[in-house]
Symmetry: C2
Subunit: 311 residues, 2 copies
């Protein structure tokens, strides 16, 4: 049984649109995914910035079904499937594999602090063995600032030894460039794909032999980020990186999910894009105004309205 | 529609037995619950020490159904129903209410750090309004050392004002006696029931007018803890508290869930009680030996074998 091609390049934790009733909107998610693909950005649906942990298992299954039925190619999909409960992580991961997803992004069981590598190894091992499908490709999701439970080099080494080929890579959202460099040095040569946790480390990650990045702001600035991925050896690569950083900084000055959704609402004229699910909070009017001023000062405009109008 | 009597006294986050296949064992959970009730300890199933967040929504629904079918009275049940995803918290809370549970213990959406009280209020409000049942009684679960997201006085005050009667109390697992004292002073007089997060603060909580405690070690030392609850005004109350503290300290010197399950395995002769679900790890042999020595030194024996044999 042959696996899908390896994921690489720029992916985005796709923001999840909600309707007036608070439920996710499958059609609008599909539309946004199509637009991201048209910009050369892959789909890490149900990530942190997708409010993935705010969605029920059933909602995630149904959204994934809708994307597959809508023709989104599995080889561009890396859904987040990690929960604190092994049976749910197994169910969603298996569903993703059966739909042809090229990989799954798996959080550690983040409620449990201080269990140590022994327990985390057992968690990932149980998930992999219960999914029991040779097509499974697990990307480890290292995001200690949020999860408070990290995935360190010793655990990676042990998992790679136990499940070579299945344990396929990592999203390093530690925010620590030194950690990304270490992962690139230690594990990338063995085919363990290192993705930077956002585009601010995209150029350095590619120069270190990494696979790309998985970044929130891929939702709002996809073309420019994808362009740096394709042209990172060009003379203007550092200048491109600096421009990406400036846009990132503007969004990051606010609660970033609410900020991106506000920008999508503005670009599409669809106010419901601004909705977040509690405990997240939508941007306040003064925050929105401040963000607009920062984006305008950068000459940043989302090339989004027409794409949506045509959909 | 009249609600069940208020929960009070000593409750325990009931440890969850797993079988050889890694699945929870409904019959053994029912048996353990019956034993706890016989010792005058109520049932906070699916709490932290129940490995509640390691169980799927489906597993929790089925276990609750099994307890109800087995005749466990709802007025002694306070299942943990809080997850990061509102639809799942709503579904499990509604199911609990429909089965007659006197209350539900609700964690904040713990994946999301730093959203502030605005977002947390919106989360609890949405849950309460979507459950939409006058019988719902919400107990807030404040456990910042684990959840990393706390429930402070300002949020409690706002929730009490918006949902009087429904917001019924709190389990304070902050480990901060000052916080428990503050809650007792500020909110207990208004009928908001304060439960200490473990028995080490039981006596001080009762002296402050509180409702009792919800404690892990209720699983292994229920009768003595329940006795202090009933006799807290007796002359030997402080001596009782000191004895409880010594037993608690013995279990707490080890990963406490694994330690309690090891003790249950020893007391019942059912080795499978020692099983935990990853990422938790069972006690190592040297840890088990050290725990046994500490318990023996205290003259502590679980009066458990016969109860189980008779079941």
């Amino acid at each position: 049984m042959s696996a899908a091609p390896r994921l690489q390049g720029v992916l985005s934790p796709v923001v999840t649109p909600f309707g007036a009733d608070g439920a996710p909107s499958p059609a609008r998610l599909l539309d946004h995914c199509r637009w991201l693909l048209s910009q050369d950005v892959g789909l890490a649906v149900f990530g942190t910035n997708s409010e993935g942990n705010s969605l029920s298992l059933l909602e995630k299954r149904q959204l994934l079904d809708h994307l597959a039925a809508g023709g989104i190619p599995g080889q561009r999909l890396m859904p987040g499937t990690g929960t604190c409960a092994i049976p749910e992580t197994v169910e969603l991961s298996r569903h993703a594999v059966q739909l042809g997803c090229a990989g799954v992004l798996v959080l550690p069981p983040f409620y449990y602090k201080g269990t140590g590598d022994e327990g985390l190894f057992a968690y990932f091992a149980r998930v992999i063995e219960e999914v029991a499908d040779a097509r499974l490709r697990v990307y480890l999701y290292h995001i200690p600032p949020v999860a408070q439970v990290g995935i360190g080099p010793a655990l990676i080494e042990r998992l790679l030894k136990a499940y070579p080929g299945v344990v396929a890579g990592i999203k390093d959202s530690s925010g620590d460039a030194g950690n990304t460099a270490l992962l690139l040095r230690e594990f990338q040569p063995a085919g363990f794909d290192v993705f930077a946790g956002n585009e601010t480390l995209l150029l350095s990650t590619l120069r270190g032999g990494g696979a790309g990045c998985i970044t929130a702001t891929g939702n709002v600035n996809p073309a420019a980020i994808a362009r740096l991925y394709r042209s990172w050896q060009a003379p203007d690569a550092d200048a491109q990186q600096a421009q990406l950083d400036a846009v990132r900084a503007a969004f990051q000055a606010f609660p970033i999910i609410a900020a991106m959704k506000w920008a999508l609402a503005r670009a599409t004229g669809d106010a419901s894009w601004a909705q977040v699910r509690p405990p997240l909070v939508a941007l306040a009017p003064d925050q929105a105004q401040a963000l607009a001023q920062r984006l305008d000062a950068l000459g940043f405009a989302m090339p989004r309205t027409e794409a949506l109008a045509a959909a």
